[in-house]
């Protein structure tokens, strides 16, 4: 239990670090080259760890469908927009807005059944969560001259 909680926190911390480190790459190389580099090193790291953990099973691509190659392009959007937003807003605001958008779109995908075939009903927790986030954003902006997120 504790191990699971700790590892989840480690994973989250590394996601945060990764975005900050990637943003620094963009100080010396162009955004598109930075995106290429991040994805390439990520792929090589997955190959190395996959080889260590499961051996040559990592090359088993029998379930591969042509469309999967295009799914990989979604990662380009993730890295590129994250680097660009970080440069403009700084880490805290970027991650804050990105997390809220991520939750909102996931909710939307679930409710509409978009791509995730089984449609999921809106739970009361979701509505409470959205209300909490909106009030959080309002309070976060109270003393700031520049609005963080334009609610409404």
């Amino acid at each position: 239990m504790i191990i699971g909680i700790l590892l989840a926190l480690v994973a989250g911390a590394f996601v945060g670090l990764q975005n900050i480190f990637n943003r620094h790459l963009n100080e010396h190389v162009s955004s598109w080259f930075a995106t290429t580099f991040v994805l390439l090193t990520g792929s090589v790291a997955a190959l190395i760890i996959g080889l260590l953990l499961q051996g040559t099973k990592i090359f088993d691509v029998s379930g591969m469908k042509p469309s999967y190659w295009f799914f990989g392009l979604v990662g380009v959007g993730v890295i590129y927009t994250m680097i660009q937003a970080m440069r403009r807003l700084g880490p805290t605001k970027t991650v804050l807005i990105s997390i809220i958008a991520q939750l909102a779109f996931s909710l939307l995908f679930d409710v509409t059944g978009f791509l995730t075939l089984p449609q999921v009903d809106l739970k009361w927790q979701d509505i409470v969560g959205v209300l909490l986030i909106i009030s959080g954003v309002l309070i976060f902006n109270l003393k700031k001259k520049v609005p963080l997120v334009r609610v409404k």
């Binding site: 926190l9 480190f21 994805l39 003393k143």
Partner: protein, 140 residues
């Protein structure tokens, strides 16, 4: 513009969760991570070739530490896969979001990793706490 980009990044991450789950049902976790990122790198490189290269290759000027951002993905994949096996997807997803926000707030508040120090005022902490609580509720 920055806000739109941040919202877009959230959209792409949500989309990626769906596509990775689809691929993950056919291929192993590591094969999925390797193939999707290799395809992404190819796509990004093609765009790079057509983009205005106003900045020449300056990788040697980047602090070596910052070159490892991409490979952190492997640590993220490994630890979240194990975390899910212990506490389930719901709790691990909520914790991953919390830790992610927590670490960037801390790094920016103390100005670590060459970032400009950005103080967070008293009231803003309350707002952050509410947002985190909201994120937990939605992840449940």
């Amino acid at each position: 513009m920055g806000i739109i980009l941040a919202i877009l990044s959230g959209f792409f991450i949500a989309l990626q969760n769906v596509t990775n789950a689809t691929i993950g049902s056919e291929l192993s976790t590591w094969t999925t991570a390797m193939i999707t990122q290799a395809a992404g790198a190819t796509g990004a490189f093609i765009i790079y070739l057509f983009s205005k290269k106003n900045q020449t290759l300056g990788l040697n000027k980047v602090k070596p530490l910052y070159l490892f951002g991409g490979s952190f993905g492997a640590i993220v994949v490994a630890s979240s896969v194990i975390a899910v096996s212990y506490v389930g997807a719901t709790i691990s997803n909520a914790l991953i979001l919390l830790a992610q926000l927590g670490i960037v707030i801390m790094i920016e508040a103390y100005g670590l990793f060459d970032l400009k120090k950005q103080k967070i005022a008293g009231k803003q902490w309350v707002g952050l706490a509410l947002m985190m609580l909201g994120a937990i509720f939605i992840s449940l």
